[in-house]
């Protein structure tokens, strides 16, 4: 439906911004609650972490980063156009630039997050 509606890039940019925004909002609720749990019952929190570290947990972690990264980049694009309206002429080009950045940064994070799910060493070692 989203792709057949002839709204073009601007409409898709808006739809993805909204969907990712609502998804991140839902995660914020979970994240405040899990840190609350870490405070009141650290033992149960530590057990919950094994769920976060499971392959499905890592898949959701990657999806979360995709949502955050898209929302951040497109949000910057919105702000630029809000304060420099003449740039709006190039809103499509900006959106494509967003996707280039999204893929470049996203691949690094996705590989790092997903590697342990395949029994592999996380590729980037920062001493962590």
């Amino acid at each position: 439906m989203l792709l057949r509606y002839r709204g073009g890039e601007g409409m898709l940019a808006w739809a993805f911004h909204r969907i990712s925004g609502v998804a991140i909002w839902a995660f914020i609720l979970l994240h405040v609650l899990d840190i609350w749990l870490a405070n009141v019952n650290p033992k149960v929190y530590d057990e919950l972490l094994t769920l976060y570290g499971s392959p499905i947990g890592r898949l959701m972690e990657t999806a979360l980063f995709a949502a955050v990264l898209y929302h951040a980049l497109n949000g910057l694009r919105i702000i630029i156009m809000d304060f420099w309206p003449s740039v709006t002429r190039y809103h499509k080009q900006l959106w494509y630039a967003n996707w280039v950045l999204f893929v470049v940064v996203g691949v690094v994070f996705a590989v790092q997050i997903m590697a342990p799910a395949f029994g592999l060493e996380a590729p980037f070692r920062f001493g962590g």
């Binding site: 925004g21 870490a38 033992k43 990264l69 910057l76 919105i78 809000d82 342990p116 920062f126 962590g128």
Partner: protein, 131 residues
């Protein structure tokens, strides 16, 4: 400056509360761009979340600076996320449904902000989990 925007929502012309929210959404967005991406880089790229047990959080928050940064991020994110949800609610509902949902959002926002703040401030400097 032309008063039109083609993305996000148009700058409110009425001024007052709605205009303040419009500016604050963009201000918190810029703050979160830095804070959240830095946060994600540290807790998901540099360190694996799987190792971040309660004692890891305690070690991180033994620094008052980190607690301050994280509390700033909490404040920004609660405002930005809930005011964003308010826009979503206002786009799809009218009348009393909109009123009830908006009030519900404010209530949950307050609860989440309170829980986040209390959890962050009272987090012990060291956590011992018998396993």
């Amino acid at each position: 400056m032309a008063r039109i925007t083609r993305a996000g929502s148009a700058r409110p012309m009425s001024g007052g509360f709605e205009l303040a929210v419009w500016y604050l959404m963009r201000l918190t967005a810029l703050g979160l761009f830095v804070l959240v991406l830095a946060h994600f880089t540290i807790v998901h790229l540099i360190y694996d979340p799987a190792i971040q047990k309660a004692d890891w959080i305690a070690a991180r928050w033994s620094s008052a600076a980190w607690r301050t940064v994280d509390w700033l991020m909490l404040s920004f994110v609660v405002f930005h996320a809930f005011m964003g949800m308010r826009t979503v609610v206002q786009d799809y509902t009218t009348g009393s449904t909109r009123m009830v949902l908006t009030m519900l959002l404010y209530l949950v926002a307050f609860l989440i902000f309170a829980m986040g703040t209390i959890g962050l401030v009272t987090f012990p400097d060291a956590v011992k989990v018998a396993s």
